[in-house]
């Protein structure tokens, strides 16, 4: 009996080990490119390829960072990106949260079709939307403006956000809103005071999705923005790539710096990504 138990324990241990080895491999595959870029950003000169595999290269220097911040408009591009991304995220989440509430709670003609249309719009490749977006923004005379970018980004991430939020609202018992209505709120009041505070996990996910999509976007920015004053960081970094020479050190330094805002947003949002907010409200 004891022997059998120990054999089972050994098998469990082996499985555990294999599982962790697999997870470690995947984690390494994810982290490796980031570490290499960090390494490139510290190399003296614009060396992308090197025989040196150490993380901190010989003669490591922050010159690329200093040059990027001092000699280029990188801070301006970062600011542009931040402005556009934050505006996009707030507008996107605001629109999606109210639209999703309507889809979740009200009965109206075209509700089902509307949801399917929203979903199918996500199946259209982003490249196909470039031309209509360009025409729309040009007609609105919003080329090379923040507003043009914000509109383009907000609408493109709206369907996904609506689906996420609608799904979450559906899990919140209707009796909570009904209790609030009887207690004296309006429908909007019930949404604001009861539904929104309970939806923070889904709102955070929608916000993160909007933020990362807008922050990393290149294609639409390439079409809408044409003056380097208005560039987002994605366009700005591309500027560092010349016809004959690419400033890999600065490119890598820029790549490292742009991860900081996203990291901050992720870390801040994580406290809202908690489950079980509706526990105790109704009989479980």
């Amino acid at each position: 009996m004891k022997k059998e138990m120990s054999a089972a324990a050994k098998r469990r241990r082996l499985n555990h080990l294999l599982l962790h080895a697999g997870l470690f491999l995947f984690a390494a595959a994810c982290v490796y490119p980031l570490l290499r870029i960090f390494s490139v950003s510290l190399r003296p000169g614009d060396k992308l390829v090197s025989m040196d595999l150490s993380l901190i290269p010989a003669g490591a220097t922050f010159v690329s960072y200093a040059k990027l911040l001092g000699d280029t408009m990188f801070l301006r591009w970062l600011w542009n990106s931040l402005l556009i991304t934050l505006a996009t995220s707030f507008i996107g989440v605001s629109l999606a949260s109210t639209a999703a509430y309507a889809f979740s709670r009200f009965r109206f003609p075209g509700k089902k079709v509307g949801m399917i249309l929203l979903l199918s719009s996500q199946m259209i490749p982003a490249g196909m939307l470039i031309l209509p977006l360009f025409l729309m923004i040009m007609k609105l005379k919003l080329m090379n403006t923040y507003l043009g970018m914000i509109i383009a980004y907000s609408v493109s991430s709206l369907p996904f956000s609506i689906w996420i939020l609608k799904g979450y609202y559906d899990t919140i018992p209707r009796s909570l809103e009904e209790a609030a209505l009887v207690d004296g709120t309006s429908q909007v009041g019930a949404f604001w005071r009861i539904i929104l505070p309970l939806s923070t996990p889904a709102l955070s996910i929608a916000f993160l999705f909007n933020f990362t999509t807008a922050w990393n976007e290149y294609l639409v920015a390439r079409v809408v923005l044409f003056s380097s004053q208005q560039y987002t960081w994605t366009l700005g970094l591309f500027e560092l790539q010349g016809q004959y020479i690419t400033q890999w050190g600065m490119f890598a330094a820029g790549s490292m710096l742009v991860t900081i805002p996203v990291l901050c947003v992720f870390l801040y949002s994580s406290k809202w990504l908690i489950s079980g907010l509706t526990l105790g409200s109704v009989k479980g």
């Binding site: 009796s175 009887v182 309970l198």
Partner: protein
């Protein structure tokens, strides 16, 4: 407090007719229980009164004010939901004072009302806790507290005890009865549990298929059910029903079927000739089925066979077979006979009910 009137209430969900002309008048300070099986429309009626469901046709008046188009918050009602519906992101105290804060009431007044309600409901210790940290009974008490602090015109209870276990349900039932005595409010209480209805109500409204079957005091609906449905729904265990025909033999009226022949006394059906040949259903509550045993003798005897005994404690359910019919008798424990043994039984005619088979309406006095 206030009166409530339902006048010809009709509710349709698409083609589905849920309520079909409900007329009920509820008096000031009255405790009315609306009872009926699942899907009979009782909760829909309550939700329409609360303003949570649109009215297809008819009128609802609270204190003689037509409220059909009035927003729930303007109806001066408070509702206790079946699933508690506590705001999970608020403490017990915040849940209880939410409605008062919305009305921008004076802080001292809010505090005093919450303190008063939490004293009555013994919630003082839990005021700073979140709903998820409470047991089912405590949550339901918070839900009731949230209603009390409002001091509304009408309290609505939508099956408030159905999520609680049997023991807690009993405790809460007593709590609600005590609360009513204290508040002396107009209360409309919906339940499918006829024990709750019988124990709590001043008047019971019995519904089935969206139609009010009978309105009356608990003893009225128990002693004089107006039709077969009410007779079968009210009372536990369920009433025994025997289908047969009335036949006049000389001056006496008899109930007959393949298995049984019983004389129907004139105080049950007065005009015997009128009922000759009528197809009827005889209703006898299990308590009114008497079995012959030591010290208890039966008259107008019927022979039966004992099938199953169910000991309930001080009472015992006897499942008997009389010919092809099944008859349930509830007698004092302990009967001490084994299944299969012959039993002599008789019926208490004073509490017997006669219903017309076709219309299902009561025809006995």
């Amino acid at each position: 407090m206030a009166t409530v009137q339902f006048k010809g209430i009709v509710k349709k969900f698409g083609d589905n007719l849920v309520l079909n002309g409900v007329d009920v008048d509820i008096k000031d300070h009255e405790f009315v229980v609306i009872v009926g099986p699942s899907g009979c429309g009782k909760t829909t009626l309550l939700r329409m009164l609360a303003g949570l469901e649109e009215i297809t046709d008819g009128e609802i008046l609270i204190d003689n004010l037509l409220v059909n188009e009035l927003h729930p918050s303007k109806r001066e009602i408070a509702m206790v939901f079946q699933d508690y519906a506590l705001y999970p992101h608020m403490t017990v105290e915040e849940n209880m004072n939410f409605a008062l804060r919305l009305r921008k009431m004076d802080k001292a007044e809010i505090a005093s009302r919450v303190a008063e309600a939490s004293n009555v409901l013994q919630l003082n210790k839990f005021l700073k806790r979140m709903p998820k940290q409470l047991s089912g009974g405590q949550r339901q008490r918070v839900a009731i507290g949230r209603a009390i602090v409002r001091k509304p015109k009408v309290f609505l209870f939508d099956e408030p005890l159905s999520n609680l276990d049997a023991k807690l349900r009993e405790e809460m039932r007593v709590e609600i009865a005590k609360l009513y005595q204290r508040l002396n409010a107009t209360i409309i209480y919906v339940t499918h549990d006829q024990v709750e209805a019988m124990t709590l109500a001043g008047r019971i409204v019995i519904m089935n298929h969206g139609i009010v079957q009978q309105v009356g005091s608990p003893i009225e609906v128990y002693r004089k059910p107006c039709n077969l449905f009410v007779a079968g729904f009210i009372g536990s265990p369920t009433m025994n029903f025997m289908t047969g025909k009335l036949a006049l033999e000389g001056e006496a009226l008899f109930f007959k079927n393949e298995d049984i022949k019983l004389s129907i006394p004139p105080y049950l059906l007065s005009d015997a000739k009128k009922h000759d040949g009528r197809e009827v259903v005889l209703g006898v509550r299990p308590d009114d089925v008497l079995v012959e045993r030591d010290g208890e003798k039966c008259s107008d005897k019927v022979q039966g066979v004992l099938e199953v005994c169910e000991l309930l404690g001080h009472r015992e359910n006897l499942y008997l077979k009389v010919g092809g019919m099944r008859v349930l008798a509830t007698v004092e424990a302990f009967f001490n006979r084994s299944p299969g043994s012959a039993v002599t039984l008789c019926f208490n005619y004073k509490n017997m009910h006669v219903f017309d088979k076709a219309t299902e309406s009561r025809i006995s006095e």
